[in-house]
């Protein structure tokens, strides 16, 4: 394996970003192919990752700062998929918006590469850079729209994100101070060597780090930016944020806890904290979502709640012993399932709002008649978000709850399932508006091709995962196991 091979998937994505800019600059007439370039890059990335898998070649590289294990590979697929879907979903919007197309896709791809690095990083510095590599394009993209809401969202997102970064960095600095190394493995060794000394420092450091990532995960109490940014940002970007940055943050935190802190730290203090955070996040997100009238804002709150659900897996991870593989695999399976589901929902929202020019839920009335496919797909995704079979969301919830039960967190599961109840109320509310309410507007429409394809893929994923969750669960399980083996 040579150097390029080690970062091949990311490299392909970055090259595609560069190509996009190049095409824009050199072949302005061929601009319409830019999305295809992006997709090609992503395809290449996936192909590359597959070649790893087929070679069964997993290793750690760059002096141990990058772990090319099944865990990372799993997320490579997830992020590449997310990016591809968002690219497809963006085509029409970007064209209409008229701001640099190439730059848009380039930013998107760079951010995706950042996610990929995040999933694989085993060094605080690499983690930090990868995080910023993924975040800064997001800030820009959030402000990409020309309306005032978009720039407001971008600025808010950036300033708050920067504060979060600073807090994260302070935590990392303290962690570094505690262990004098930035290598996750080294940190783990140092913690083990240090025994129970200086627990306060470690706690503070970890708390700050978690807070920093908590911002990206969008868990309470670091969630406040979420609804505003989702509402203000261009919808394709919001879709991207909702699944990408959350997934990446969970990916890195899970790895951090496994490889950097080890089960000792985790099980002692953090299981309960994560559990409480999970419970509060779900509850807050769901309760707040109930009174929302803007679909994007509703999805924002729902994503807070979903973050809480994923967090349940994290709480279970924190428990030492054989069971924690379940928790970790729960987290990553959830991220994947959530990616399909939420993307599907957002893509449907993009398609609908492009047509009706509104994000108000009330304007979705009669959607069943106007576009049965869109309404059906959105409803399916909402059902999946609620966690009702036969959808991906059901298995995801089931799986993390299962791991929580095994981690002796029955109360958390009860909170979780009660939250599903609350969430059903507003998710069904949207479905009801589309299917039951009547509207004066009757004209039917079809979504454009790119949206159709990505929507088709997302909903197919939701359904297929709902019916045959086995393979992906297996993969998630394997991926989590490699984490465990490393530690």
């Amino acid at each position: 394996m040579n150097g390029i091979d080690l970062v091949g998937p990311q490299f392909a994505v970055l090259i595609a970003a560069g190509m996009a800019l190049l095409v824009d600059a050199l072949l302005p007439r061929q601009r319409r192919f830019i999305p295809l370039v992006a997709l090609a890059g992503l395809a290449l990335s996936v192909a590359w990752t597959i070649s790893w898998v087929s070679r069964d070649d997993y290793q750690s590289a760059f002096g141990g700062t990058l772990a090319l294990d099944k865990y990372a590979v799993f997320f490579y697929f997830v992020f590449a998929g997310i990016a591809a879907a968002v690219v497809l979903a963006s085509i029409d919007w970007v064209k209409r918006e008229g701001r640099g197309e190439a730059e848009y896709y380039a930013l998107l791809l760079v951010s995706t590469a950042g996610y990929m690095f995040l999933a694989a990083s085993r060094d605080l510095i690499t983690i930090f850079i990868a995080l910023e590599l993924s975040s800064i394009p997001q800030y820009i993209l959030a402000g990409w729209g020309k309306d005032e809401r978009s720039s407001e969202a971008g600025l808010k997102y950036l300033l708050l994100g920067a504060i979060a970064s600073a807090v994260l960095l302070y935590g990392m600095a303290l962690l570094y101070g505690f262990t004098r190394t930035t290598d996750l493995g080294g940190i783990a060794d140092a913690i083990v060597a240090g025994g129970s000394e200086n627990r306060a420092l470690l706690t503070l450091a970890v708390a700050l780090v978690i807070a920093g990532f908590g911002f990206k995960m969008a868990v309470v109490p670091f969630q406040m930016w979420v609804p505003d940014v989702y509402q203000g940002a261009p919808t394709p970007v919001a879709a991207y944020l909702s699944v990408g940055s959350k997934g990446a943050a969970f990916a890195v935190v899970t790895r951090l806890f496994f490889e950097g802190l080890g089960p000792d730290v985790a099980s002692d203090d953090w299981s309960m904290i994560f559990a409480v955070v999970a419970a509060v996040s779900m509850t807050f997100g769901n309760v707040m979502a109930i009174v929302q009238t803007d679909i994007k804002r509703l999805l924002g709150y729902s994503s807070i709640a979903q973050a809480g659900n994923i967090m349940v897996g994290l709480a279970a991870v924190s428990v030492a012993g054989e069971e924690f593989v379940l928790g970790a695999s729960g987290v990553i399976f959830f991220v994947a399932a959530y990616a399909f589901t939420n993307l599907g929902a957002f893509i449907a929202v993009i398609a609908i709002s492009q047509r009706i020019g509104s994000d108000r839920i009330g304007d979705y009335a009669g959607m069943w008649k106007r576009s049965p496919v869109l309404a059906g797909a959105l409803a399916l995704c909402l059902v999946s978000l609620t966690g009702i079979p036969p959808t991906a969301g059901f298995w995801a919830k089931l799986y993390v709850f299962n791991s929580a039960i095994r981690a002796d967190l029955a109360w958390l599961v009860i909170v979780g399932v009660l939250n599903s109840l609350v969430s059903a109320y507003y998710y069904l509310g949207v479905a009801r508006t589309m299917f039951v309410a009547e509207s004066g507007e009757e004209a039917t429409f079809r979504p454009p091709l790119g949206l159709s394809i990505s929507l088709g893929l997302a909903t197919a994923g939701v359904l297929i995962l709902g019916l045959v969750p086995g393979p992906l669960l297996d993969a998630a399980h394997d991926a989590a196991e490699t984490l465990a083996l490393v530690s």
């Binding site: 008229g98 820009i140 200086n198 306060a200």
Partner: protein, 170 residues
């Protein structure tokens, strides 16, 4: 680390930096605040030197004072109608209280911790740092450049005026 000079320098720097930072907090004029900020950065560079990170001290002056502060100034100038006001929101007092609490917690942790301090001050030469950046952290190093590029590209796109966009042949 010993010697009066070091101690003196430390306290002077501390005085200057904290006062400057306070100045940023308290000054009502945005331009003044920028100046205080620059002073803070300079103080910070002093600390770096004091901490045997000469190269980083240089970099600090170069990048923060030379680039970031200027950038901020530009921004201030680019937004003329936004005023020069650097006042506080109503959230000042709560913010102060919160941050005070946070400080208390951090200070408690700092004093509570039994720091393992090496006898010999560790020094890192600029060459050593460069080597590290090009070996172990070569990947982040490369990514940082990508990051800067992207930030530039993105920023340019964001600030392009509508007229520019209209002129754009696309």
């Amino acid at each position: 680390m010993d010697g009066f000079g070091v101690t003196f320098a430390f306290w002077v720097l501390t005085g200057v930096t904290l006062v400057a930072a306070l100045g940023v907090l308290l000054s009502r004029n945005l331009l003044h605040a920028v100046l205080f900020l620059i002073l803070t950065f300079v103080g910070m560079a002093g600390y770096f030197v004091l901490l045997s990170a000469d190269f980083l001290g240089m970099a600090q002056v170069l990048i923060y004072v030379g680039a970031i502060a200027v950038l901020v100034l530009f921004a201030v100038l680019l937004t003329p109608r936004a005023g020069r006001d650097n006042g506080e929101t109503r959230m000042f007092l709560p913010a102060l209280l919160l941050c005070g609490t946070l400080l208390a917690v951090i200070l408690f942790v700092i004093t509570d911790t039994n720091w393992a301090v090496s006898e010999e001050p560790a020094t890192v030469s600029a060459a050593g740092l460069g080597e590290a950046l090009l070996s172990r952290w070569v990947l982040p190093f490369e990514l940082a450049s990508v990051l800067l590029t992207v930030a530039l590209v993105g920023s340019i796109m964001l600030v392009r005026s509508r007229e520019e966009e209209a002129e754009d042949p696309r």
